[in-house]
Amino acid sequence: MALLDQTRAATSSPLEARSLILAGLTVGLLLLPVVQVITDGYNYVLHVLTVIFMYIALASGWNIIGGYAGYTSLGHPVFFALGAYFSGVLLVYRGWSPFWTAPLAGLMATLFGLVIGLITLRTRGPAFVISTIALLLLARLVLDNWEWVGGSNGLSLPMIGWPYRFYKIPFYYGMLITALAAVWTSYRIRHSKLGLFLRAIAMDEVKAEVAGVHTSMCKIIAFAISAFFAGVCGALWGYHQTYLRPTIFLTIGAAADLVLINLVGGRGTVAGPVLGAALRIGLDELVVNQLGSTELNITATGLLMILIVLFFPGGIIGALRERGRLPRLLDWD
């Protein structure tokens, strides 16, 4: 802490301090597995962090269409599942490692997002949300009945051939890199012309169109980019789970998580999904460890969503910014 203060005092610009802290954090996270290798006691920490990274990547990706453009998608689990099944099938039938095919899985998801976006993003407003719910349930129906990929029984994947002590490490790095890429992409879009257009769409789509923004093009691009990270995460997560099953990937609950993470952190901000993912997974680990998983978790998730919509529509970032107390460290917009 004292070191932090010194750094802040030494550098005149707070922006520089922020970069230093973030760079430090990144290096720290990159080096963390070394501790595992030396001490052999950090598998659980690595696991939780891996899950957090995954949700950071998923939620940051979701935020591009759901936050910047304001188009709530409940269909992102479909891209997640697509990535998982794409890489999983290549692993089972061809023996190709998902670590190599994950980017391809992302591209597949992007392509699929492009096609779906062409259909569903022709409308403004609520019809899109409805179509994403339908997409999710349709995909579920297809996967449940497609025997080649295991149907509703699912598809078993071979385990990664690493010793137990280290087998979390590749997933840790995979998800960390994906998360960094997602946040970086989100940041770049936020500060680009596309980001400006998307936010104009979120505020008033008709006006944006009148002002000359090619709204459907912007939305479709945003949707496709957003799908990419879900695909990559799916590929890695499927391998990590060693088991693909429609009930794991294609649930409304999974879609709700992405929405909730963004709402908690602050949708439409760069830091919101990061903060939201860390909080959500951290809390989840605490609650599930303490109380076990029950049906009431669904209720709690629902109530949380209601409370946030009613009282903190801007999420944590929004609430802090409104009161002028948002630390520079979290202000990436």
Partner: protein, 290 residues
């Protein structure tokens, strides 16, 4: 030929029930641009009320509409006043109502799961398993009663909307909210009423659902997706469109079901939705917005 006609009869009977199930979604969207994702969750809740009333009190599920109607109407007014009124005037209002009702749906689903577990349930009054035959055609007796009740309710709603002063005010608010205010309609009161009516229709549909098909808490997602699909097909906010959409999709899904197996019958709804968005995004009876 007679096989096709049989399917048509079943489809239309089913369509009548779907229309009642979806009309509430359409009404609340039309009057106040609230997209209630929790509609089907309350429908399933209504099914549980009817189920337990049947199991414990031996009350005929058809009679439980007289409990569910008023009960869900009251719940609707309460929810509207406490949850939706504070959102009024928000930018991106529909979006906010959608997220709110999404949370509400999960809240209800979790509670139902915690109280009554996730096992499949269905009320089984005597008529639920009987069939009536008319010449070479047959219709399940329960389905026939359910369709009768649905059509009766839809007719009552239609008469209320077209023949009464308050009903006319609801339609006026759907067509032009500002104009309704200008002629002195208390649009807030009308909105609460419309939301209550929508919820009452969910409760009544729940009574019918209780003996028509097995249900469990998580089932409502499938229902809401189907109902919303047919609402989009008909044109969002158009009541006539919703009824027509329900009929078209019910008949189609029964055909699909008889040709490809019942597994794929829900897919009819989703496929139709994508087709509509591709060909005519405003739906059959909708107006272009914006």
């Amino acid at each position: 030929m007679s096989q096709g006609l049989q399917v048509l009869i079943l489809g239309l009977a089913l369509g009548g029930v779907y229309a009642l199930m979806a009309i509430g979604v359409s009404l609340t969207y039309g009057v106040m641009r609230i997209l209630n994702l929790a509609h089907a969750a309350f429908m399933v809740l209504g099914a549980y009320v009817a189920y337990w009333a049947f199991r414990i009190l031996h009350l005929d599920p058809l009679l439980s509409i007289f409990i569910n109607g008023p009960l869900f109407f009251a719940i609707g007014i309460l929810l509207y006043r406490t949850l939706f009124v504070p959102l009024a005037g928000r930018p991106r209002y529909t979006e906010a109502t959608l997220l709110l009702s999404f949370g509400l749906a999960m809240g209800v689903e979790g509670l139902m799961g915690a109280w009554w577990t996730g096992i499949y349930r269905a009320a089984n009054p005597a008529y639920a398993t009987r069939s009536l035959s008319l010449g070479s055609f047959y219709i399940p007796e329960g389905q026939m009663y359910a369709t009768g009740v649905s059509l009766g309710m839809l007719l009552a709603l239609w008469l209320f909307l077209h023949r009464t002063r308050i009903g006319r005010a609801i339609r006026a608010t759907m067509q032009n909210r500002t104009a309704a205010q200008i002629v002195g309609v208390d649009v807030e009161g009308i909105s609460a009423l419309a939301f209550g009516l929508g919820m009452a229709s969910a409760g009544i549909s729940g009574s019918l659902l209780s003996f028509l098909s097995p249900f469990f808490p998580g089932k409502h997602w499938q229902w809401i997706a189907s109902l919303l699909s047919l609402v989009v097909l008909g044109g969002m906010g158009s009541l006539i469109g919703t009824v027509v959409g329900a009929m078209v999709l019910a008949v189609t899904s029964v055909y699909v079901s008889s040709a490809l197996g019942p597994t794929w019958s829900p897919a009819t709804f989703y496929a139709a939705l994508f087709l509509v968005l591709l060909l005519r995004p405003q739906g059959l009876f909708g107006r272009k917005e914006g």
